[in-house]
């Protein structure tokens, strides 16, 4: 499968949030403002790329010792450690960047999209470059979904819903409509 195909597939056809349901918590939690959506999206892209770059050799190592069943434990540990490390380094060396992304970093450890991407790379049998492309595509897809949805949400805030539907239910139903629009991309690759 070519790299462009993987990228398009990730961003539009199998959008990580809207059709694979990974990372719903930040999708609902952080998408209130366009600006925080961009921050969260950038942080997710960065962590996904790095996590893929790290977990790929880790998996090769596990394969060598024939303990691949430990991949969930190994991956989540590596991701959690990496996120902490990045946070510490960023705080010390790049304060402006830390200010922009730092808040979102701890939230990412438990974002299932990150673990999902690294495990998905293994399950699909991607090579190193394909894995990185997949990670980039998934990160972009997450950002796109967050950005689009932050626009929809600002419209929800102003509209008059029945009392019981106010808040989360209304948000979920709006998400359903956004997800419906992404169904239009089904079958383009």
């Amino acid at each position: 499968m070519s790299y462009v195909m993987i990228l398009i597939g990730c961003v539009f056809v199998n959008n990580v949030v809207l059709s694979q349901f990974m990372g719903i918590c930040p999708f609902l939690g952080v998408s209130k403002q366009m600006r925080s959506s961009v921050g969260m999206g950038a942080a997710v892209i960065f962590v996904m790329l790095c996590a893929t770059a790290i977990t790929y050799p880790v998996y090769k190592l596990l394969e060598k010792f024939e303990i691949t069943y430990l991949k969930t434990v190994a991956f989540i540990l590596v991701i959690a450690m990496f996120v902490q490390l990045v946070e510490i380094i960023m705080k010390k060396l790049m304060p402006p960047l830390y200010k922009a992304l730092g808040v979102y970093l701890p939230l990412i450890t438990t974002n299932c999209a990150v673990l999902g991407v690294t495990i998905g790379n293994i399950d699909n049998g991607y090579n190193f470059l394909q894995s990185l492309t997949n990670a980039l595509g998934t990160g972009l897809a997450f950002t796109l979904a967050l950005l689009l949805f932050s626009g929809v949400r600002s419209a929800i805030e102003d509209s008059d819903f029945p009392e019981t539907f106010k808040g989360v239910p209304a948000t979920l139903i709006a998400a359903s409509i956004v997800s419906l629009s992404f169904m239009g991309f089904t079958g383009i690759i």
Binding site: L18, S19, Q20, F21, M22, G23, I24, C25, L28, G29, V30, K32, Q33, R35, S36, G39, Y69, L70, K71, T72, V73, I76, L77, A80, M81, Q84, V103, Y104, P106, L107, T109, T110, N111, C112, L115, G116, I119, G120, D123, E163, T164, F165, K166, G167, V168, P169, A170, T171, L172, I173, A175, S176, I177, S179, L180, F182, M183
Partner: protein, 234 residues
């Protein structure tokens, strides 16, 4: 915090067991663990499987974490919790692969993703790391069954409307005109939205306006920063 107040009021084990079923249902009231709730509920059977797998992990991790609560240093507690949880997830993966391969294939990557399910980390942080062993087990069991119940309800609604059958039984009339949209991703969001609204209506309480910090598993690390950040419009 809310747990503590209620604990002094009703310090019975029965309460710990039953609170998760409806009153503090992790999915429909606490708004936790949305990802598996939406992803695996295309069929009622998958919902039950996922729910029971999560319950198993939740009970075991609550047990271990509550035993280790005095040993784990506070600063690195989250990585410790995650490792314990990931260990049990690997265990259930093995069990399922061996005994129920059909379900294993149906749940796919979401079985591994139980590791990062907010409910489990949330209960470890909010309950098991502060309470004794027995209440922690009961809490895990109750919360897990509550999760299973909501997954089952959601799976049933989607399966009946989307395919016209339920647990393998054909339903007359509906099976001639299945509304496929309900088993598509869009239908998942829609059904969950409606179910939460229904629970709000039945409980007759003010609906949650947003996902609050109390239901966010990351509250311990982020200390409400995400919220202040959003409010400042940064």
């Amino acid at each position: 915090m809310a747990d503590k107040n209620e604990k002094t009021e009703k310090n019975s084990n029965l309460y710990e067991l039953t609170k998760g079923l409806i009153k503090q249902n992790p999915t429909l009231v606490g708004l936790l663990g949305m990802c598996p709730t939406l992803a695996v509920t295309t069929m009622a059977k998958n919902g039950i499987g996922m729910g029971l797998a999560t319950t198993f992990v939740l009970v075991c991790s609550n047990l271990v974490i509550s035993l280790l609560k005095n040993v784990i240093p506070k600063a690195v507690r989250l990585p410790c919790f995650i490792v314990v949880i990931a260990g049990f997830v690997t265990l259930i993966e093995f069990l399922m692969k061996g005994y129920i391969p059909d379900l294993y294939n149906a749940l796919g990557v979401f079985l591994s993703l139980i590791t990062v399910n907010c409910i489990i980390l949330g209960r470890a942080e909010a309950f098991a790391s502060k309470n004794k062993v027995l209440p922690s087990i009961l809490d895990g069991l109750g919360m897990g069954l509550g999760f299973t119940l909501s997954l089952f309800t959601m799976g049933s609604v989607r399966e009946i409307l989307g395919t016209g059958s339920w647990m393998g039984l054909q339903i007359p009339v509906l099976c001639d005109h299945p509304m496929t949209i309900f088993i598509m991703p869009a239908g998942g969001f829609f059904v969950l939205g409606c179910l939460i609204a229904l629970v709000n209506k039945i409980a007759n309480k003010k609906p949650p306006q947003e996902i609050s910090c109390s239901s966010c598993p990351n509250a311990a690390i982020c200390c409400g920063q995400c919220k202040t950040d959003a409010e400042e419009g940064k």
